[in-house]
């Protein structure tokens, strides 16, 4: 990220551009991709904004003849009377904030940082095995992961209860009793790999002599981490935190474990959005939720881009 060349601010050089294709051929090759992006990304983007100002539904008269309702959908979402009630937008927004704080910032980033630091000093084969397992958790398809966790946590036949029983602990129905913490642990487990890989490569880019000099000077492992490792990867940490915040904010995978329940206790904004739009079929209101999520993402993206730009300068 920091070493990507930027064209801004550099003098324009008169170097012949050795392109593989002529401009015309390039345009021909770009057209199919451009069309797909236009149809599936750009048009829906504006369509959602448009729909969010209507009362469009799946069935009934408003399905065929939606009416322009102005900001009614937005006002309904932010209605102070029931904003914080379970199953309402405010509730799921706060839940998502807690989820991001617990599973992304504390869980993924902290666990990833810890793992990344620990694998710096272990023998190479331990490092490879650890990385393999952590990455496996990251690259497996969501549906597979969701089903595996469902099987793991099942009350009657689940692996976790079998393990607890073998050491004499009482079984639990975790998906019912602690649904929030289940999805927090799940998302931490799922996403720690990214933070670990990013921090691990950041640590590896620090010249080994920095740590050797600290060794000779008498520093402990904690002092090396606090005084040298951490300050030198500060930029990577900021990048990581912003990226995983965005991803966790948008994640839909916990739906596979809990369906957003029980009684809306794990209904993150993405799941809330899905329920409003595709269970209740209130397209207008669902579109309004989507627009708000886009704005929040846009804010994160702007912060991320501005920091990235600062680093390349």
């Amino acid at each position: 990220m920091s070493n990507q060349p930027t064209t801004s601010g550099q003098p324009k050089r008169k170097v012949k551009n050795f392109a593989l294709l002529s401009n015309w051929a390039g345009a021909v090759f770009l057209t199919p991709a451009g069309l797909l992006v236009a149809v599936f990304v750009i048009v829906p983007f504006f369509w959602v904004i448009f729909v969010s100002f209507t009362n469009r539904t799946l069935l009934g008269s408003t399905a065929l003849n939606p009416q322009f309702v102005g900001l009614a959908n937005y006002l309904a979402l932010f209605d102070p009377a029931n904003f914080f009630q379970r199953g309402q937008f405010g509730f799921s927004l706060i839940l998502t904030t807690q989820f991001v704080l617990a599973s992304a910032l504390v869980g993924q980033a902290l666990l990833g940082l810890l793992l990344a630091w620990l694998v710096q000093t272990v023998p190479p084969w331990v490092k490879r095995i650890t990385e393999t397992f952590v990455i496996a958790a990251w690259i497996l398809p969501e549906v597979v992961i969701g089903f595996a966790w469902f099987a793991f946590l099942d009350r009657d036949q689940g692996t976790l209860n079998a393990l607890l029983g073998s050491v004499g602990l009482p079984p639990g129905d975790f998906l019912l009793q602690q649904p929030f913490w289940v999805i927090v642990v799940f998302n931490t487990w799922r996403g720690a790999a990214f933070s670990m890989m990013l921090f691990s490569s950041a640590f590896s880019s620090i010249p080994p002599s920095y740590f050797q000099a600290a060794d000779v000077a008498g520093a402990s492992s904690w002092q090396k981490f606090r005084d040298i490792g951490l300050p030198l990867i500060r930029g990577h940490i900021v990048t990581d935190l912003i990226l995983i915040t965005m991803w966790t904010f948008n994640t839909f995978t916990p739906f596979l474990l809990t369906n957003g329940g029980p009684s809306y206790r794990t209904e993150l904004v993405s799941i809330y959005n899905y329920r409003v739009a595709f269970n209740d079929f209130q397209f207008g209101k669902g579109a309004a939720v989507g627009v708000i999520m886009m704005l929040i993402n846009l804010a994160f993206a702007l912060v991320y881009l501005s920091i990235g730009r600062k680093k390349t300068r």
């Binding site: 010249p207 002599s209 920095y210 050797q212 000099a213 600290a214 060794d215 000779v216 000077a217 008498g218 520093a219 402990s220 002092q223 005084d227 040298i228 300050p231 030198l232």
Partner: protein, 370 residues
Amino acid sequence: MASVQFSNVTKTFGEFAAVSDVSFSIGDGEFVCLLGPSGCGKTTSLRMIAGLDTPSSGQVLIGGEDVTHFHPKDRQISMVFQDYALYPHMNLADNIAYPLKVRGKSVSERHGRAREVADVLKIGHLLDRLPSQISGGQQQRTSLARALVYPSQVYLFDEPLSNLDAKLRLEARGFLNHLQRDMGMTAVYVTHDQAEAMALATRIAVMDQGRIVQYASPIEIYRRPATTFVANFVGNPPMNLVAVDAVQGDGQLQLRADGVTLAGLAMSSGIGTALGAGKTLTLGIRPEHLGIAEPGAANTISGKLFANENMGPESLVTIERADGSRVTARIFTDDHIAIDEAVTLGFASGHVHLFDGAGARIAAEGETAL
């Protein structure tokens, strides 16, 4: 300050033996240079003294104590790294005082001591700068200051001057020499620059392929190189090595080679019986002991001029012999010699070194008088 001892130290990386069965000792207050080409095991040896590498077998002793398996921080050592290893996010004061910080000293004590050391090294006015804001020579002094800021038994240097340009390197070399004499520190200094080793060391350990080839004072290494490897490594330009045949003639052993006359070099009986006729030996003559001579005179090497490089006070005259090998002489003259002109170089018989077929030095009678 303390002594350092290596006993039968071997370090292997997989199949490769970086250091094999090395034993030597460094006295209290000695400045020892480990000298050799890349991959000779000199840096690995230094890292084993520091505790950054652990020997595969053998022992490392510091001050008589077996520290083979000690962590670096328990060895009371200081080290200066080739890339200086300055922390880019700390200013010079914090960099220099970092060893004191990890020892739990107060901020005022740290900064006071950093200023003392920095003043000695003439970087006291830069203490609030970052490493990226100072020159290479100043960075080198900063890393030296960090090594000197706390008391150590042994000071280790891993090619500390190799990242400096030629002029700064000479300056830093003189400064290190002065510092060592001033402090009387025990130091181990790794370098591939023979001039640096000659200038700084009280003793030089010349290393090749994981072994110590010769361990002696600089003057001894210069005057009596133990092998052709040492002869070729020390000296600038290196010693000329000429293959000669030992033949029986006139009732005694004589050395012969095309274009070489060796009149004054009557072989002593000791050498003659040790070698016998029919063997190939190596004759070594340092460039500074060669001069322009009359053709046909005693003790000469002749050939055609290959290059004549004017170095200011002297010229490096290189001739190519009939077999294609080259001989270089350092000559204090500005006479013009044309390329391909026949040149005869002469030498005194007392300045000749002899090595056997395996490259080991043959001690001549009266060699001590060299």
